[in-house]
């Protein structure tokens, strides 16, 4: 498993902490995107070693790498169609398969703490609120500003620029 795949497994193993037992694809995309954004905010660097590309889609950030990772995780992750109270239609939702054993060799303890910190901040939010949080981040605001300047509704497929994320002022103080 690569770092992204292990992160997905770890998130799904911890979502009970925000009183959920599965995540829809859109929730997963947004949470992974917020982990990357928060990593830039608190370390000035990528959580995924810049190996995961997030692009603009009509519903905010998505990533082809996440689709690929989910395909690779078919032995561990189960996909079911579920209707959630905060959305009118059924969506694909992801669970960890019951009784499946896995070992996370790449994720360090400090990275797990960071994922949980982001998960506890955003993981419990309803899909629309989670989407709003993603839209409030600098890479999305930067993209929207470019779209407005060009009079385009959505630069679908354009890469989101994480270098626009400002380092947290307290972290700046710590590391100079």
């Amino acid at each position: 498993m690569n770092l992204l795949e292990e992160t997905i497994i770890f998130i799904l193993s911890q979502i009970y902490k925000v009183k959920k037992d599965n995540l829809s694809q859109i929730e997963l995309f947004k949470l992974l995107y917020l982990i990357e954004t928060e990593s830039y905010r608190y370390t000035g660097d990528s959580f995924f070693n810049e190996e995961v590309l997030f692009t603009r889609d009509k519903n905010g950030p998505i990533s082809v790498d996440v689709y690929k990772a989910l395909d690779n995780l078919s032995d561990f992750v189960q996909k079911k169609e579920r209707k959630k109270p905060d959305y009118p239609y059924k969506r694909h939702s992801f669970y960890i398969k019951e009784g499946v054993k896995y070992e996370l060799k790449r994720l360090r303890q400090d990275q797990k703490l960071f994922i949980n910190s982001v998960l506890l901040s955003f993981g419990g939010l309803a899909i629309n609120k989670l989407k709003e949080k993603a839209y409030e981040t600098e890479p999305m605001l930067d993209m929207i500003s470019k779209e407005q300047k060009r009079g385009v509704e959505c630069f679908k497929g354009a890469s989101l620029n994480f270098k626009t994320v400002k380092l947290d002022k307290d972290m700046k103080e710590i590391y100079g």
């Binding site: 797990k112 910190s117 901040s121």
Partner: protein
């Protein structure tokens, strides 16, 4: 599931000191709650000591005896001595938390914590998580 929060003062029957590799009954303050840990039986704490040497140390803050009645002599919270402990080692014969740091004390701790010299920003999320969670806790 426990609900100990940042700033709670706990007492462990066995506290494992990472820096000295020793173990002893000890007071500690919660730095990160167990919900953040992979296993919720763990908790990140920092050492609380009455050793007067701590008074001279840069990263120790004196705790008020008027507020924290669980102490009967000058006591210090050492922010640079952090350890992951097991909740199974807590002294449950005592009513825990024994005391809770005030918002002012937490603010002082946070200021001090920011002055600790950390090795590198790269590949270490411990400091970012502490900063992120403490800010959330101080704002709320």
């Amino acid at each position: 599931m426990d609900s100990y929060k940042i700033g709670d003062i706990l007492y462990f029957l066995s506290y494992y000191f990472t820096d000295t590799n020793e173990c002893a009954p000890h007071y500690a303050m919660v730095v990160l709650p167990s919900i953040l840990m992979e296993y919720e039986s763990q908790i990140l704490c920092c050492v609380i000591t009455s050793n007067q040497e701590a008074k001279k140390k840069k990263y120790c803050i004196s705790l008020s005896l008027d507020i924290h009645k669980c102490f009967n002599r000058e006591t210090f919270c050492c922010l640079n001595r952090r350890d992951i402990e097991s909740l199974g080692d807590l002294d449950l014969s005592k009513k825990l938390p024994l005391s809770i740091l005030t918002k002012d004390e937490l603010k002082k701790c946070f200021k001090l914590f920011k002055n600790i010299k950390y090795s590198s920003i790269q590949n270490n999320y411990f400091v970012p998580v502490i900063v992120r969670e403490w800010k959330r806790s101080l704002i709320v």
